[in-house]
Symmetry: C2
Subunit: 191 residues, 2 copies
Amino acid sequence: MNELAARRRLDPDARRTEILDAALRLYAVRPYAEVSTTDLAREAGVARALLNHYFGTKRALYLEALRELLTIPEQAAADLAGQRREDRVAAAVDWFLDTVSERRTLWLSVGIGLSGDAEVDAVVEDADETAVDRVLTALDRDPCDEPLRARVRAFFGMVRAASREWLVRGALDRPAVRKLLTTALVTILED
Amino acid sequence: MNELAARRRLDPDARRTEILDAALRLYAVRPYAEVSTTDLAREAGVARALLNHYFGTKRALYLEALRELLTIPEQAAADLAGQRREDRVAAAVDWFLDTVSERRTLWLSVGIGLSGDAEVDAVVEDADETAVDRVLTALDRDPCDEPLRARVRAFFGMVRAASREWLVRGALDRPAVRKLLTTALVTILED
DNA sequence: GCCGCTTGTTGGCAGCTTGTCAACAGGGTG
DNA sequence: CACCCTGTTGACAAGCTGCCAACAAGCGGC
């Protein structure tokens, strides 16, 4: 930190979120490996050492940011209109697509799927677990049926790939994605 | 390089593959970021600078290894037994599952899906494109139907996630995965 | 058999990155 | 106003990557 900004003394929580937000801003544009702690500190308007003070390690900060990003806002998961199961499934897919397109940049920045890094994967899997819970309860299915959960997690793999086809490649438009995912989810819920 | 091994002068191609194999061995166990060029050089029994000589950059070497890993062996894609489409699809899924379980360690090491890194993603997408071609031609579908290709790519997302459920989490057994993927692929091919 | 050249191979250097630590300073308290 | 707690910082040490000049293995000319 060199100039223009006098030393501000902030509440720890405030500073923490300030740094986290800065990190999210950077990771939205460049992948983890290409963002140096110097960049992070500059973006947050803070000395590099402060990152370590708050998060311990560059990696830990990244994991925090990732967790923050993947935590889907609570949102109403209950009021799915439509009586037929297929309609409710379609509504769930719609809700998801809304969320994704809204957070488009960040969602895509995190990549799609697992990274091969144990800790990163743990965070992603954690978020998935929550999402599985919401989907199953919203659709009146048993959230404890482990094979079913596994199938839904597999389905999420397709969800990620499909939204990529939609948002990045433009190879599918939204109605196509909607139909693809709805059909697939209905199929998966059977049996 | 310090001792025990006199200076061997190899054919460039031989040396290249020797280094590549060593890299694949290491990346099978640890993720990219945790493998240093020193490790790579030691595993290959070679001076660190030689890696740069052959591949230019640590990242480039990684990309080569990744490409090598993802290049599914040619294999007979044509002789899919069974007349009914569903049988042929099932045969294709079986063939894929065989390949995956055979290369289990390496396949899983690379992670599942895209990383958010442009170059890495390019390699993965490239491999996917080839796989899409094989699947579509093997199943007598038009390989130029772009929306269809996109759906198959989306399907691959589920394939990755499902094989992870099978091989890593053990939440699904092979028959379950087989059925899940077969049903999904059949559904996707319709429309 | 000796010499020299091509080129595969190596050790060491320079720049950059991350984590740590002691020191600095904001702002509330007596 | 002096003091102390603690948020904040600059500087240092260790490690990693890419580059370059130098070394030497093996082949061809004489």
